[in-house]
């Protein structure tokens, strides 16, 4: 028989002025199993806690009920208090007689009756409580950052600076991401490369960072504190241990294919560095275009290399590494507008380029060395039309969301054109201009004063005629149809999650939202966490954002990881699901219902009569289970139960109320 102590708090007059302790405490004393009941002005105060502790030893109490404010307020306080006593911190229930009784009811008699009911429910429940022990899981003090764009770079540097080891993984041959492709950044117009390449160099040189470029995640297992990640190092065909990055090989390679970095605006050889400032500054061979690897004929680079770095027999390797935390920084890509917008020529007109292609064009290190020239004939455009929201805010053909950064970089592009090509004209077709950011509205104002003509309306059709591009739309402020003959058109296209996001998130068990961005744990209060413990978010993999927001989020995610890695082990809540193996039929209904992939079917040895058999039963991973209890309601045989909220405990509560 349990020995229950009930402690009624007055909370000054907050409770006592409505709920009568002189009725409640004696009533509690009469409840089954209660050996002691007392009331006090402030139970949570030092003397109040001392009184409880004294009573426990004095009356041989083995579990307690505290009738007070909401458990959301002081459950943790009282659990901590119990740590110093003979009883387990989980042998505690709280009856919420303040927020859900004295504060919401006026009739003293009826409120006291209800309080008695609430205490009875708690007493009945606590009679079924059992000691629970928090498990501690060791934390591997090492973080994996997936994606080497500015988000991944920032997060890796912050974690590494705090003294923890980081692996920065990038699937391209170099880190740098989209920011490395940009020319200038709004609204300050500082050169993108000037601010991002030093960070790339820092990453390459940081003693705590291991760079793994040209690598992909193959599989992930484990949970917060101890993830096991299999990483596939793609074949580079160049021995990076001895290569000095002299670049001789690149100059003589006979192959020319479209440059990914310059988005098809220039060519690159088959042995290549992604861009001149690449980190690591060593080339790889693209096996799909290399003549030696395809046909076995060529081998020029191997002959040229003074150090013998070229290895045509190189193969992909998979290594498995352990991490305590993972940051997703997989970024975005631009939508394939040509496949969506036949009315804009569907990609048939060379002088219609994307915003990112314009960045390469206007970049001094780009294919035109920073001269704004149209791709078709290399002429300077006199009139440029910029079209915003291409693929954004278009639920029918593209994405329903706003891509957030386009308004600003459209203004930046206009500014750059007007600055570099005096006498040129720029028309920006827009639906709304959105400039919520520090210095953004001012930048937009400046662009208008520079002479950019903002036309409110979505372009309906763009066609080529007599060597120009006719952009047809409505000037909706004027209410009339307009046609602008342009020499070049820039489409500011929507962002979408990087290709491969589905596979990666399902390996991790992280959820994606309706648009395939990775879902944050809470949009306001946990914006850089996923609902999977130990997996964090940085940058545009969570949704479209600009560089300042990306970098802030990356640092926030890094802070979360640092907090985690600073501990050597982590206590997990013991209030998680437990399986009674004998009852489990192995139906697997719980496996699919678990949002955390915490339940798996495991083969065990069993007996059927005298026969030894093997059968499958559910098994809960305590590192992954978050204690929601969805599995327990789905369990057909009642084999699964939630510790701390067992079926038996809740049924006791129900019964107690209905007495």
């Amino acid at each position: 028989m349990s020995r229950i102590g009930v402690f009624v708090c007055h909370c000054g007059t907050n409770i006592a002025s409505v709920v009568d302790p002189d009725r409640l405490t004696p009533a509690a004393r009469e409840m089954p199993g209660v050996v002691y009941a007392a009331d006090y002005r402030y139970m949570c105060s030092e003397p109040g806690q001392q009184m409880i502790k004294d009573s426990i030893s004095e009356h041989g109490i083995d579990r307690i009920v505290i009738a007070s404010c909401s458990p959301r307020m002081h459950e943790t306080t009282f659990r901590k208090m119990l740590k110093g006593t003979s009883i387990n911190p989980y042998m505690l229930e709280i009856a919420n007689i303040r927020e859900q009784c004295s504060w919401v009811h006026a009739d003293k008699g009826r409120a006291t009756e209800k309080a008695i009911g609430l205490v009875r429910m708690a007493v009945s429940k606590v009679s079924k409580n059992e000691p629970l022990y928090a498990q501690s899981i060791p934390i591997t003090k090492r973080a994996l950052v997936i994606g080497g764009g500015i988000a991944g770079i920032q997060a890796a540097l912050d974690i590494a600076d705090a003294g923890h080891e980081v692996v920065l993984l990038e699937r391209e041959p170099s880190i740098g991401g989209k920011m490395a492709m940009l020319d200038k950044t709004f609204p300050t117009l500082d050169c993108s490369a000037c601010i991002s390449t030093p960070k790339m160099v820092d990453v390459g040189a940081h003693p705590n960072i291991r760079l793994m470029t040209y690598c992909e995640v193959e599989s992930v297992s484990g949970y917060i504190g101890s993830f096991e990640v299999a990483i596939r190092q793609k074949a580079r065909y160049v021995n990076h241990d001895i290569c000095t990055g002299c670049g001789l090989c690149e100059t003589k390679c006979p192959v020319k294919v479209d440059s990914e970095f310059n988005l098809g605006l220039s060519k690159r050889p088959a042995i290549y560095k992604l861009f001149p400032q690449a980190v690591p500054s060593k080339p790889v061979i693209d096996s799909e275009s290399c003549r030696m690897l395809k046909d076995g004929k060529c081998g020029i680079c191997a002959k040229l290399c003074p150090l013998g770095c070229i290895d045509y027999k190189d193969e992909a390797r998979t290594v498995t590494e352990s991490f305590g935390a993972i940051i997703m920084a997989t970024g975005y890509q631009l939508v394939d507008w040509a496949a969506m917008y036949g009315e804009y020529g569907g990609g048939r007109y060379r002088d219609i380029i994307s915003g990112l292609q314009f960045e390469r064009t206007v970049n001094a290190a780009g294919p035109t060395e920073g001269h704004i020239l149209r791709p078709s004939d290399g002429r300077e455009p006199e009139t440029v039309v910029i079209v915003k929201c291409v693929g954004s805010r278009d639920p029918k053909k593209g994405k329903s969301y706003c891509s957030r950064a386009c308004c600003m970089y459209a203004a930046k592009h206009a500014h750059q054109i007007l600055e570099k090509l005096p006498g040129s004209r720029v028309f920006i077709f827009y639906i709304d201009v959105r400039t919520p950011g520090k210095g953004y509205e001012e930048f937009y104002d400046q662009t208008r004063m520079d002479g950019a003509v903002y036309v409110r309306g979505r372009i309906s059709k763009i066609y080529e005629e007599d060597g120009g591009l006719v952009c047809q739309g409505e000037d909706s402020l004027l209410g009339s149809q307009v046609r602008v003959r342009a020499d070049m058109v820039i489409l500011e296209t929507a962002m979408e999650p990087s290709q491969g996001i589905e596979g990666l998130t399902s390996m991790l068990g992280a959820a994606r939202d309706a648009n395939n961005w990775i879902q944050e744990a809470h949009p306001k209060l946990r914006p850089v966490e996923t609902q999977v413990g130990g997996v964090f978010l940085a940058g545009t993999c969570q949704g479209p954002k600009d560089i300042p927001d990306t970098v802030s989020q990356a640092s926030a995610a890094a802070a979360k990881v640092i907090g985690l890695l600073n501990k050597s082990e982590m206590e997990t809540s013991p209030m998680i699901s437990a399986v009674e193996r004998d009852k489990c039929s192995g139906c697997g209904a719980c496996v699919g219902i678990c949002p955390y992939k915490a339940i798996t079917l495991q083969e065990i040895d069993d007996r059927l009569g005298a026969k030894r058999i093997k059968r499958e039963v559910a098994s809960v991973n305590s590192g992954l289970c978050q204690g929601c209890g969805a599995c327990t309601a789905a369990c057909r045989t009642g084999a699964l139960d939630l510790l701390g909220f067992r079926n038996g405990q809740i049924l006791e509560e129900v019964d107690a109320l209905c007495l």
């Binding site: 504060w103 949002p595 327990t632 129900v654």
Partner: protein
């Protein structure tokens, strides 16, 4: 004088810890007033509420049962309340089949900020149950059983 005059229903509300329980606390913090009929049982997630709990409540003579959780899509545990929603649509039909007025059972989505909605819901459900009168379906049977078993001692 009607049978239900002066009748106060007894209602149990299973509230998820993250949304509705928080909303109920907020109602207290704002000193909102609602009828005393509802007793909240805290659960981690509305998805934890086993249909067995509800049947048991009706069986033991509870006049009404509420299951309240986060709005679909807002679940703290990401998907729990989708299961709740599906499960309790079936529940309603099963209660009907068992001769319990489905109006005695309410599944509602109340977020941590919707204190007023919690108050209004409690008031509304209490009022509906006052009109429905006591849940006698099993209570009578229970009393008879108890009387027989305990030799007329009663409860």
């Amino acid at each position: 004088m009607s049978l239900t005059e002066g009748f106060e229903p007894k209602i149990i509300a299973f509230c998820c810890n993250w949304c509705t329980y928080t909303g109920a606390d907020l109602a207290g913090l704002n000193r909102m007033k609602y009828p005393e009929n509802v007793h909240v049982a805290r659960v981690p997630c509305s998805g934890r509420v086993n249909p067995q709990f509800i049947l048991r409540a009706f069986q033991k003579g509870c006049d009404g049962v509420m299951v309240c959780g986060c709005h679909p899509g807002d679940c703290h545990y990401s998907t729990g309340n989708y299961f709740t929603r599906r499960r309790f649509m079936l529940m309603k039909r099963m209660l009907e089949y068992n001769g319990i007025d489905p109006g005695r059972f309410h599944a509602r989505w109340i977020s941590g900020s919707e204190a007023a909605k919690f108050r209004d819901t409690v008031a509304e459900v209490s009022e509906r149950l006052r009109k429905l009168g006591p849940n006698t379906k099993y209570r009578e049977a229970l009393r008879e059983g108890a009387d027989a078993g305990k030799g007329g001692a009663g409860i």
